[in-house]
Amino acid sequence: MDVVVEPGLEHQAERARSRHGFLMGLPTMIYLFVFFVVPLGFVVMYSFATRTRTGRTELAGWNVEAYERLGETVVRAVAFRSLWIAAVTTILSLALAYPLAYFISTRRPATRNMLLVGVMIPFWSNFLIRTYAWRVLLDSDGIFTRIMSGMGLGDGRILFTNNAVILGLVYGYLPFMVLPLYAAIERIDWSLVEGARDLYASGWSAFRRVVWPLSKPGVIAGSILVFVPSFGAYVTPAILGGNKKGLMGSYIVDQFMDARNGPLGSSLSVLVLVVMLMGTLIYFRQGGRSL
């Protein structure tokens, strides 16, 4: 094909190499296309499809009804409640994680590694069981409940409330906040802080003017990593929450399991996906790297 200008051996070798790389990735590309991209396409198609009287979804009579329904009061209430819970979870996680990440990243390397492992273990341990552990603690007979009422902080009964869900989400996703924060704070060049102190900045203003801005990529990455899964959470509300259908994740599941409304469930899934993509975009625009 290439009879235009002398292709050169170098060029040919490069083309062969690039073809080799492509072929190497091909099986995975095909797999992900069939079992990820196509399923995603189906969900998008479903969100524009028609629901028959029997509750089946028919890929015909395309319409935007499922998206119009997102404006309904019930659906909006679910979405806002989920947004609210995700926001509170994110803020609480940040408040808990920031000092911890600061503490870890300012230890000596040996101590630091040990402390990090301490965060990693719950990070990868079974999420379901860790959530269930709170169910045991929050039970009317549970230790948490007894301690709270013993200290006179109300009767301590928060199981099956949104507060319990928030507690469970913070517990579940806190490592997602700690790790990127740690990565950001650990990279800070402390001589900048030293410089600020030399110029008579107080400890607090050195933190506010130097450390905090430099750690911002970590704050943003961690917030997204906590916010996105909290918004679509299903397991935590199912175990610790009260109104089982009141949150996004459960509401979507319900559309497929009980209400049999495929189009609505799909348009809600697309909404969750959009929230996720927006988060990712913000993340990369802030110069975030992959974890």
Binding site: V37, I129, Y132, A133, G203, V235, G249, V253, V272, M276
Partner: protein, 283 residues
Amino acid sequence: MGKGVALSTAEPMGAARWLLRGHSALVYAFFYAPIVVLAFYSFNESQLVGRWSGFSLRWYEAFLQNDNIQSSLWVSVKICVASTVISVVLGTLAALSIERFRWWGQKAFDAVLYLPIIIPDVTMAVMMLVFFGETAELFNIIPGVDLTNGLEKLVLSHVAFNISFVSVVVRARLANLDAAMEEAAADLYANRWQAFRRVTLPQIMPGVLGGALLAVTLSLDDVVVSSFVSAVGATPVSVYVFGMLRKGVSPLINAVSVVILAASMTLVMASLALERATSSRKR
């Protein structure tokens, strides 16, 4: 290298210093206390979860005698092994292809490869449910394929999210390696396969194993996707336990939970130890 001096600048002074320490200790307590309490109660003799009445292993015996849990554990093992093997092969190939080569369309592949990591469980679950609902009949035409029993569907969807995690871990390993070694092998007239098997593979092995452990962990961990695609008779243990514990607390679930948690913690620690052992040799 002056790092010690710098770290002393980072250390807040006076009360703030102790606040920071106290806070960190409390957060670690928050991480581990619930797990410890759960483990403690799993040895409780009493039928009532919150009331301690003495040490006993009766709930672990009940766990061993419960056929439903045993068979769901077996289902999980099968899914884990199959999905891990497939996703390790595909994930490693993807990692090599992206990290070691430049080709047209690579950026798009890279982006799609990231999606399964950040996509919320529920969305992934819906995707799989809808997909298999629409295409199961198509797949069943292929001789030897039967998606109705659910096991294949579980493996296929677990692979779909595991590939990405494996490839991230292997890529991290590859990025730290020197491509010069492979080039040297090629200079010494090793063919591609020999260069890969003798040079590249041994070097990325820790990453591959780390990715495999991660895949096993995630596969065991998954509830939402699995409960959407599993069929009667092929329920993985996470889905079975989820069903049990939605009904409420019971000492039996405590025992089952501790067993699962111990298994997943062992996996995590193994993968961390592996990472440690190999990274310390490098630096």
